[in-house]
């Protein structure tokens, strides 16, 4: 089967591409280069928002598309919205136009938002409330909503939308990994929410499984048990610095502007309230169980 991966040169894209390469033909699409990629992988340098993407799909006629290309935490909000929402909309149209049969879209469990009244283990039918307190990443919720619309509009395409927990990886650029890699991680005094994680290798396996099993639906994807934030920081080998909330917000905002923190100050709600998900539906649909040990993943995050 021929699989096209958007964002193939990214951290997760490379993992997914290498895994898919074992049994499938892999075509990548990215604006960035991937020096040293396996020879069997064709990488098209194209922008999702441009006509060139249409050409790539027309020429390659992939049976499956894995959509991983999105911008996270860049300053230029307009560019982010353009790529994440505009780019996704365009790609979805192209998938319908070129007869793609399987589609996997990467969303995030962050779309639920971290709200005080969140239950533990939110199911997939929980509302996407992230923009209520964290408008910077509302484009993520929009991306998710666009893909859900596609899922219902085109029943003939096996569409899987994955909402993984915080992604861990050795020196990974993911938001939570970046936070855990800080020398001192600011936290909010009096709060210590339960957190869930998934190793990037497990997430790559989950994505491959969706492609191979033609999974259809919206799925939460999670790794091992939930752990409180402060324990996660300690196990990762960092140090927590509990601060009164306004101070924590100010510090994280400043660190983000200077390029030290992976997310802006509105992300502080994720350090206060749980955003934990119920992974049962995905396990029942695909039999997926995370293999990486949570503690080992946490311990290796700082590299």
């Amino acid at each position: 089967m021929k699989v096209l991966i958007t964002g193939a040169a990214g951290r997760l894209g490379r993992l997914v591409a290498r895994r898919l390469l074992e049994d499938h033909e892999v075509v990548g699409l990215d604006t960035s280069a991937w020096p040293g990629r396996p020879r069997e992988i064709t990488l098209h340098r194209a922008d999702l928002r441009k006509k060139s993407t249409d050409d790539v799909l027309r020429r390659e006629q992939p049976e499956a598309v894995v959509h991983l290309a999105s911008l996270r935490h860049v300053f230029d909000e307009r560019l982010r919205h353009d790529v994440n929402v505009g780019g996704t909309r365009k790609l979805l149209d192209l998938c319908a136009k070129h007869g793609v049969r399987r589609l996997v879209v990467l969303s995030s469990s962050y779309v639920y938002g971290a709200l005080p009244e969140n239950p533990f283990y939110m199911a997939e039918d929980t509302g996407l409330s992230v923009s209520r307190h964290y408008p910077e990443i509302r484009d993520l919720a929009e991306l998710d909503t666009l893909a859900s619309g596609f899922l219902w509009h085109y029943p003939e395409v096996a569409t899987a939308i994955l909402r993984p927990a915080s992604v861990l990886g050795k020196r990974s650029p993911s938001t939570m990994s970046g936070y855990l890699q800080l020398e001192v991680s600011p936290t909010v005094m009096g709060f210590d929410p339960m957190m869930q994680f998934i190793d990037e290798e497990d997430l790559a396996r989950a994505i491959v499984r969706c492609v191979e099993q033609k999974a259809r639906g919206v799925f939460n994807v999670t790794g091992g048990a939930a752990l409180p934030l402060h324990s996660a920081i300690r196990i990762a080998g960092g140090r927590a610095l509990p601060l009164p909330e306004p101070l924590c917000r100010a510090l994280i905002g400043m660190m983000f502007r200077l390029g030290f923190a992976p997310a802006p100050s509105d992300a502080v709600d994720f350090l206060k309230y749980p955003c934990t998900i119920d992974g049962r539906a995905f396990r029942e649909a695909t039999g997926f169980v995370a293999e990486h040990d949570l503690l080992q993943s946490l311990r290796s995050v700082r590299g």
């Binding site: 533990f120 283990y121 709060f191 210590d192 339960m194 091992g224 324990s231 309230y273 119920d278 503690l295």
Partner: protein, 301 residues
């Protein structure tokens, strides 16, 4: 639950489990605490280890309960149970193993009734049970308080949390009167307020037996003139009770656990049908309250 799987056993270093201040405080308590307190702490430790709990390597359960923090919370609750409210508990043998929904009357301005029912479950039930409270939605917003609520085994009272806990075989306590009951004035004591219907729908959906619990005493612990609504709104609280005593009075609590009640039917039925079933539970609690008031010799004795 998949999400509830504890991580495979990996040796954890002490500094990965807790911070230096926590460890120092623990050591100081073990060395210097009065012997009565240490005995009580040991009793609680033993009860927690015998209670059917699913703890991971760090001592956490899937809902944020943590052994060491809970142990300290329960120590304070146990002191109140034994010394302040001198609780008399009957009917705990009615508590079935596995999933159960406890439904009680709510009073006393602060949820000490829930705390005393929790202490009874851990100290007097055999085997000990962790009884999980369903907290108000605004509690998690409060620093430390929200955290202690979760670490001692309670959760925000959303339907999803309740369903997950019951399906996991836990004992959950809910007060269908909510703040209507807890923050009512002195003149309304022992008058059950309107019951919400949500608990019955959840019980029907998860096929959970309901154990009615009557608390006599809590209704007199903190006489109040009523709630000052404007201030409550300003502070974002569900109610601002005008309480006449700075601390709860040392009334004697009488807890009674009734026989389990089983209900059957469609959880999504009309309110009218659900109301009839709720009324049965409410009726049972009223009867138990009346009997409890009849039995006691005085508010403080």
């Amino acid at each position: 639950m998949a999400t509830a799987r504890p991580p495979r056993a990996l040796p954890l270093r002490p500094e990965e489990i807790s911070g230096p201040i926590d460890r120092l405080a623990g050591l100081a308590f073990d060395a210097l605490g009065p012997s009565y307190l240490r005995d009580l702490a040991r009793e609680i430790d033993e009860a927690i280890s015998r209670a059917p709990l699913e703890l991971n390597a760090l001592g956490y359960d899937p809902w944020g309960f943590q052994r060491d923090v809970a142990r300290r919370c329960y120590l304070i609750m146990a002191l109140m149970y034994r010394w302040w409210f001198r609780v008399e508990t009957r009917g705990l043998e009615h508590l079935p193993a596995g999933r159960v929904l406890l439904i009680g009357n709510h009073a006393g301005q602060v949820a000490l009734d829930a705390a005393m029912i929790g202490a009874a479950g851990l100290l007097e039930a055999n085997p000990p049970r962790l009884i999980r409270g369903m907290g108000e939605y605004w509690l998690p917003r409060l620093p430390w308080i929200g955290l202690l609520m979760v670490r001692s085994g309670s959760v925000v009272g959303t339907p999803k949390n309740c369903i997950d806990l019951l399906e996991h075989g836990e004992a959950v306590i809910a007060f269908p009167e909510g703040v209507r009951g807890m923050n009512k004035s002195w003149t309304e004591r022992y008058q059950l307020q309107e019951f919400g219907l949500g608990f019955m729908r959840l019980a029907l959906r998860t096929r959970t037996p309901i154990v009615p619990v009557a608390t006599v005493g809590s209704e007199e612990q903190a006489p109040s003139l009523g709630s000052f609504a404007p201030l409550a709104r300003l502070l974002g609280m569900p109610a601002f009770p005008l309480v006449l005593t700075p601390i709860p009075l040392p009334v004697r609590y009488h807890l009674e656990f009734g026989a389990p009640m089983w209900f059957e039917g469609d959880p999504d039925d009309e309110d009218r049908v659900i109301e009839e079933k709720v009324e049965e539970v409410k009726e049972k609690i009223s009867e138990m309250l009346a009997a409890g008031l009849e039995r006691r010799t005085g508010i403080f004795t």
